[in-house]
Symmetry: C2
């Protein structure tokens, strides 16, 4: 993982809006942030989600997407200034529940918007001017360290948060001619995130989920996805009828416990619609009845089965192996 | 998953000792149980661990291992009697911190130890007489439902706990001539458990871990392992010198981010010592320098890497595929 400091230090100097400093746990922006972290309902209502840590933000910025809010502890914000100087006096402090009535509130004039990106070898830092510009266009929230440390987030070597609009791509009008991955009621956020990461690494571009699958853009799933989300087109909660339309003529492929053909004896080179099913129950019976490729992964006798994310890794990379072998 | 009721109902009738009924949160046996669930230090001190849920217990019993304590909520215990009758009056009730001084304590004479297993078609139930006998030889704790429900355990369709002695096999005197899996500072319990499950399914029999790897017999790891633990010989916290002795002449195999040979272009049929490394840092540099097979999994460009458990699944099943192909 790269060091976030150079890119963010450039972004800090190019900020389009003054950072907002938050010193009270009752601050409404902070409350909204906590709700986004903790509540799936709030994420759905607002259409926003939260990326935790520099790695996810870097991957997001690399995709050229805008950031709504960048949230930093004060210690990080200060470090981004030259040599740990105190944070910019041009920032606005917000303390309480009702900032406009708060005598401590201090709104200063905007810093020069669109100030040029400071000189220095931008190419040598992780990222590029476009990423700096995206980060600088976000609204920055600087939280007192103790407030930041109270947030329910994963420990990370470079802790920060980014609020972004949850991507909601429109369903294509017709079935694609490339592989699909369908997540059928996979409940564990870690499994969903790991499969998204694996699918991205295997070259998959489109993922569909059925109702009952963990929400793909929840912070836990994003964490496990490690940026895989950002190279995928993800369509969530697709009803069965729409799913059939999206699959079109692609053969459905999935693993079954009995009467399947060995994964290794199956020709997987053509585009497939992979289905991975619920941790306990496997693939929905109606989808299972439609499987064109009923596969089993040859396992040691006496061992029950693989975790669904491990099974997905074995399947998707076996397909990749077969294609690489036939291309060479 | 099978229904636990028939096997446990037979075991209940064949109990060697009266069940102990616990009605107080201060009961010392319950305190010990909670410590085993929550504290790695207590698990190490006592040499015991806890299996959660019927699936793990069934796999454990199938291995023929003794169970120290079986812990059930009262509702389950009653259900094991005929048609939900109240629990046996022959049980001993334990309420408080100091049961012998508790006026509510009521210790009744032992039920007939070694009573014959009730008639009925034992073969038709899941399990066999040996499994029934092992379950019946355990000390049974019956917790008031509210006490059981307060325990920090995963929701499960058949909730119960089994306290068992943690297996600590002796290190073999010399290096084996079969595959090894080495977990090098893998920190996430879910990853460790998933790799153990995958390794067992791939036919691996021996796993070694270095210091810094999550404790394999912690409840979270057991949960993710889904019984894979019980067909593996697991040696934990092995110092580097001992590790080298255990590996002996086996080639060390692991994935690297750069300068590796494609997994698919490598001959993996001979016995290997697979090393899977820390989530963030990968394989320890000293081990990495000794890799005989420096492998890369060909991935889509622009996607960082696979989760370590997904990577282990791809590697171990590619080895399995190559062996199956060369055997057929």
């Amino acid at each position: 993982m790269s060091d976030p400091t150079p890119l963010l230090a450039h972004a800090r100097q190019a900020l389009r809006h003054s950072p907002v400093e938050i010193e009270s746990a009752a601050n409404p922006r902070l409350r909204h942030l906590r709700e986004l972290l903790e509540s799936g309902r709030e994420r759905r209502r607002s259409g926003q989600t939260v990326l935790e840590g520099w790695h996810l933000l870097e991957s997001w910025l690399a995709g050229g997407q805008p950031v709504l809010q960048l949230v930093l502890p004060r210690r990080t914000f200060q470090q981004l200034g030259q040599g740990g100087e105190p944070s910019s006096p041009a920032s606005r402090r917000e303390h309480g529940r009702s900032p406009s009535a708060n005598p401590w509130q201090r709104v200063s004039p905007q810093r020069q918007p669109g100030a040029p990106i400071p000189s220095g070898n931008v190419a040598s830092m992780n990222g590029n001017p476009e990423m700096v510009a995206q980060a600088a266009q976000a609204s920055w929230l600087v939280l007192d360290d103790w407030l930041f440390d109270q947030l329910d987030i994963m420990p990370s070597p470079s802790p920060l948060l980014a609020v972004v609009e949850t991507p909601r791509p429109a369903l294509p009008a017709s079935a694609p001619d490339h592989d699909l991955v369908i997540l059928d009621r996979i409940q564990d956020p870690g499994n969903v995130g790991t499969i998204l990461r694996t699918a991205a690494a295997a070259g998959i571009r489109t993922v569909l989920t059925t109702a009952g699958t963990a929400a793909c853009w929840a912070p836990k799933v994003l964490r496990a996805g490690m940026g895989g989300h950002f190279v995928l087109e993800i369509h969530e909660n697709i009803p069965l009828e729409q799913l059939k339309a999206q699959v079109g003529a692609l053969p459905l492929a999935g693993t079954v416990l009995q009467d399947g053909q060995s994964l290794y004896a199956s020709d997987l080179r053509q585009p497939l619609a992979w289905v991975f099913g619920n941790e306990g129950e496997g693939i929905d019976p109606e989808l299972q009845a439609r499987l064109g490729c009923r596969l089993t992964i040859p396992q040691d006798p006496g061992v029950e089965s693989l975790n669904v994310a491990a099974s997905a890794a074995v399947c998707l990379f076996e397909q990749r192996r077969q294609r690489l072998a036939s291309a060479s």
